[in-house]
């Protein structure tokens, strides 16, 4: 057994993990920050069908995030080498759990206890959702840890983060874009901001593994991917039929799923499986992974994050008092991370 080493952040294991780690930790958030109860009155004004779709879409996402936090991310973390990479994946896992908690808080805010119970029971028995979960669990549990085996695990993780979550995301984005359920929409924004990064990071690890395979393995991997995607895509269409029947959005959601499958292919550097089609512009603007301009008095906004702490020096102060300004591009020596 080789001796156990400490994490050396001064010697990065690759060109991107440190940046991702810093980006993730800087956008740490908790659902308690968003005043969800602001939406309570709007919730009451929704029709039964609208409420049903909204809450079941979230409940399905809760199950998938729980899967990622409990099974997916720990599996990847245990198989990927490198302290910094492991730390980065672990933090992703933590955020998945926080996402799951956010969905649960929504249930708690908007539903009665018996309604809540019904929704959780629905998750346990919904066939497409359970199929999706057990299929992906199967891949994570596969004992094959060769480059190909690892690549498969990374690829299904990306499928979740970049494509399979989005049948659920569609509705809250669609609603928030029209000014309904705006606080809950903020939570979805924050989650999407996280998932977008997770999807890209894990895809970069996957591309690396793909590059290590020989041509025969790569051909096999492509074929496996095409078949897996097809299976899950068909399942997703059936899930959409169930979830969106009451609100008449089935066609739009399916287009959105195909759109995200294409994004997934781009991230994994594979060929896009579907022709490019326009998606609903309101939803599209909702998934732009960026902060939004904010009406400060009504919601929190996804634009704030942890700030880098760097000490002001005597020279800085004197420069300003002398009528000048310090060169902010030249770093002062003492840099430390906020301890809060």
């Amino acid at each position: 057994m080789s001796p156990f080493s400490a994490t050396n952040w001064s010697e990065p294991e690759d060109g991107f993990s440190t940046t991702f780690y810093e980006k993730y930790t800087s956008q740490l958030w908790f659902p308690e920050e968003i005043p969800l109860s602001n939406d309570a009155l709007v919730w009451k004004s929704l029709s039964d069908d609208e409420r049903w779709t909204y809450i079941h879409a979230s409940a399905g996402l809760n199950a998938l995030d729980t899967l990622q936090g409990e099974v997916g991310m720990p599996a990847l973390r245990s198989l990927i080498d490198g302290h910094i990479r492991k730390a980065t994946l672990q933090f992703q896992g933590v955020m998945e759990d926080i996402h799951a908690r956010s969905y649960s808080l929504m249930n708690k805010t908007f539903l009665s206890t018996s309604e809540e119970r019904e929704v959780f029971e629905w998750v346990r028995t919904q066939p497409q959702l359970q199929f999706k979960i057990s299929f992906i669990q199967g891949v994570f549990a596969d004992p094959d840890v060769s480059n190909l085996g690892l690549w498969k695990k990374l690829a299904v993780s990306c499928m979740l983060e970049t494509a399979l979550f989005y049948s659920g995301f569609f509705y809250p984005l669609y609603m928030a874009g029209q000014g309904r359920m705006v606080s809950a929409g903020e939570i979805f924004n924050l989650i999407i901001l996280d998932e977008a990064l997770h999807g890209v990071y894990v895809a970069l690890l996957a591309q690396e593994k793909f590059g290590l395979m020989n041509p025969a393995e790569q051909a096999y991997a492509r074929a496996w991917y095409a078949q897996t995607l097809q299976t899950l895509y068909q399942n997703e269409l059936a899930y959409t039929d169930v979830l969106y029947a009451g609100v008449n959005l089935i066609g739009e959601v399916k287009r959105f799923i195909r759109f995200n499958c294409n994004v997934l292919a781009d991230n994994l550097a594979l060929e896009r499986p579907f022709p490019d089609k326009e998606i609903n512009p309101v939803v599209q603007n909702g998934i732009e992974a960026r902060g939004t301009t904010h009406d400060f008095f009504s919601a929190k906004g996804s634009s704030y994050s942890k700030v880098r702490v760097e000490t002001l020096s005597d020279a800085d102060v004197e420069a300003i008092w002398a009528g000048g300004f310090p060169d902010l591009n030249v770093s002062n020596q003492v840099v430390r991370v906020s301890h809060d």
Partner: protein, 695 residues
């Protein structure tokens, strides 16, 4: 989904920005939503009868005018063939300002109707109303939201919606009184600033028992909850800010309440926090020394002084040396760094540089400036009130609070009108009318201040959009020159209008005697030199406008000495949200944040391309986050010289910013004499930028 929302979202859904989709959205919005859903009246008479009989418009309003005068005002409103320039502007107006049927299914007013009725309500004669409706429809200036929304209505809400309270003195009666005032004001909407520095700190003694008080946070949490509870019948939760001195022992506690990783019990969800910072603190920060933060109750017991009455620059050393006063030691720069960290995480606190505000306080004879409002542009002396238990109200002492009564010039339209003086005079007339029509009896110190001081605040918006249209770069020497000349001219005309009202009506605000207005000291800079354009480029912009000269100012100063002024303050530059969209202007005098804004509010997500955005103007629409913030601060400092109150000044920084940069900006702003800094906004690096540095 509604078609105009989809069209509006198409502006940025493609690979290139397509502002023309916004015009389509605007057109479809009127064709499919507004026009078919507007109640039809055959003529004006029928409209007035219906609306007054249904209790929508105030019937007594129409008794003040002859029918043909009312008709003339409406005809004038419709004669301009007004068109909205953006979907955002139209939807803001029709969603938030235009009166609808009680079930909110159909409109009872069009844009012109709202402007005509506002002009009639806010005028005393037909000539005045005709002049006012001209300005309102052509948008040379726009009154603040509550004035525009509520004027002329029978069940009218208040015409003002922003208040400052200094009633929260250190006893339970005052605290509960403040809470009830806040609830009362919040119920009608708007923002409330509350000064809390007089409250004893956490752990101080209560009735002699040590270590039992809950400090400022206890009261802050109650305010936070109260504001969310009294939410205008569910329309919008109240909004409030507390102002706390950095010298208060609870300061860092309260600051932490705005951080991300605070536990639920110690978080302030929606309450904003402002920090008041004395000169002495800035000096210690400069020297890199420690300061003491004091426990107010202990300080009061030893010296008999209220916390907010202390002149820190004069008294700090004696208080620091007094062993009987409880205090704690902390590095001034460390406090400033904590402020920066919290701003990075939450946008808050606002900063109020007390020294800068009070050095140029024109009515120091009335009192000192200790606090600001929710948007940090209101700066007036306040005096605390003292309340007593039920049955002993006779002992109450009513101090001075503030109600903010605001309007903003639209710079582009004001400049194009060719007559700044005419625009400003009309705007001051409207604000004066609002002050006279307002009586907030629920909060006695607000009523007293409005009755006696009649303060108003004229500001401006659309600076960046005007500059971009003129192909001038925001924050450039030419732009700064424009700001200097423009605000000097606005100041002159505003003050002159205030003097004329005093002269013509005999009303002079209480406190004029002994003020720096009376001594002329407040106008010294204008008697030293002319504030007229130096360069030909800027001079060309002001062609046709009568700009005040030194001789004009001399005359005005002597007129003021003779007749007095009707208003304790006349200017304040508010951040302007909704009204700038309606007026098709960029917000306030800040730079734009995005060439195409994505705006999320409780109404909807709306896409808003900046006014006149095109391939030609794009280059001049540099986004705030890409700018060196000194350009913003220089712009604000140039205007501040001419503004008797304050200016909402936001810092815009990329997420890669460090606390060091933020602190450097604070010090730079302080050195320029800027009085307040509003919140700091941070742009998240988006995924593409993030990846482009790594892959």
């Amino acid at each position: 989904m509604e078609r105009w929302i989809e069209l509006n979202n198409k502006v940025i859904a493609g690979n290139v920005v397509q502002p023309q989709h916004d015009k389509d959205a605007l057109q479809v919005y009127f064709q499919e939503k507004v026009n078919p859903n507007t109640v039809f009246f055959h003529d004006l008479k029928e409209k007035i009868r219906y609306l007054t009989e249904h209790g929508i418009w105030d019937a007594s309003l129409f008794e003040r005018y002859a029918p043909e005068d009312v008709r003339a005002v409406f005809e004038r409103a419709y004669s301009y063939k007004f068109h909205f320039q953006s979907f955002m502007g139209a939807s803001k107006f029709y969603n938030e300002y235009a009166t609808m049927t009680p079930d909110r299914s159909r409109w009872l007013e069009r844009y012109e109707d709202r402007m005509a009725i506002t002009a009639l309500a806010r005028s005393e004669g037909v000539e005045e109303a005709l002049e006012l409706v001209h300005h309102l429809v052509t948008q040379t200036f726009t009154p603040a939201t509550p004035t525009l929304m509520n004027s002329g209505k029978a069940n009218t809400g208040r015409l003002v919606s922003c208040f400052l309270l200094q009633d929260c003195t250190d006893n339970l009666d005052s605290i509960t009184k403040t809470l009830s005032f806040v609830a009362e004001l919040s119920k009608g909407g708007g923002g409330i600033g509350v000064e809390v520095s007089n409250l004893r700190a956490r752990g101080e003694s209560l009735r002699g028992i040590q270590n039992v008080t809950k400090g400022v946070m206890g009261v802050a949490k109650m305010l936070d909850n109260m504001l969310r509870y009294a939410d205008q019948a569910g329309q919008r939760p109240g909004a409030g800010a507390i102002y706390l001195s950095v010298m208060h022992a609870d300061f860092l506690d309260v600051l932490s309440a705005k951080k991300i990783a605070s536990d639920e019990d110690s978080r302030l969800k929606t309450l904003s926090v402002g920090a008041t910072i004395p000169d002495m603190f800035m000096e210690k920060a400069r020297l890199g020394e420690d300061i003491f933060q004091f426990y107010p109750h202990s300080l009061w017991k030893e010296t008999g002084q209220e916390f907010s009455d202390i002149d820190w620059t004069r008294d700090y050393q004696a208080l620091a040396d007094n062993a009987n006063i409880c205090k704690k030691r902390v590095s001034a720069r460390r406090v400033l760094e904590e402020i920066a960290v919290t701003q990075g995480e939450s946008g808050y606190p606002y900063l109020l540089f007390e020294g800068n505000a009070n050095r140029v306080n024109p009515i120091a004879n009335v009192g000192s400036i200790k606090m600001s409002n929710l948007c940090s542009e209101i700066l007036q002396p306040t005096l605390p009130s003292y309340f007593h238990a039920y049955g002993q109200e006779a002992k109450d002492r009513i101090g001075l609070d503030v109600s903010c009564n605001l309007s903003s010039l639209v710079i582009e339209q004001t400049m194009h009108s060719g007559d700044i003086g005419r625009v400003v005079t009309a705007a001051i007339g409207l604000l004066d009318n609002v002050a006279r029509s307002t009586s907030v009896t629920e909060v006695p110190a607000v009523k007293r201040a409005n009755d006696e001081m009649r303060s108003i605040g004229l500001g401006a918006m659309g600076l960046h959009s005007f500059l971009a249209g003129q192909e001038l770069i925001y924050g450039s020497p030419e732009a700064l020159e424009f700001v200097d000349v423009f605000f000097a001219a606005v100041h002159y005309h505003a003050r002159r209008a205030s003097m004329q009202i005093a002269r013509d009506t005999g009303f002079v605000f209480s406190g004029f005697e002994g003020s720096r207005y009376q001594s002329g000291e407040h106008f010294a800079q204008y008697l030293e030199r002319d504030f007229t354009p130096q360069g030909a480029e800027i001079a060309a912009l002001f062609e046709g406008h009568a700009l005040p000269t030194r001789a004009d100012w001399q005359q005005l100063v002597s007129d003021i000495q003779q007749h007095g002024l009707a208003h304790s303050f006349v200017m304040a530059v508010a951040p302007t949200g909704s009204i700038s969209y309606v007026s098709h202007a960029s917000a306030s005098i800040m730079p734009i944040t995005e060439r195409v804004e994505t705006r999320t509010s409780n109404k909807a997500r709306t896409i808003y391309p900046m006014p006149h955005l095109s391939a030609d103007t794009e280059w001049y629409y540099e986004e705030a986050y890409d700018m060196d913030q000194r350009r913003v601060l220089d712009t604000v400092a140039a205007a501040q010289k001419h503004v008797d109150q304050g200016i909402s000044c936001t810092l815009f920084v990329p997420s890669t910013t460090s606390t060091r940069a933020l602190q450097a900006y604070y010090l730079y702003a302080y050195r320029l004499g800027i009085k307040t800094l509003y919140y700091t906004r941070m742009r998240k690096t988006n995924l593409e930028e993030c990846l482009s540095c790594v892959v």
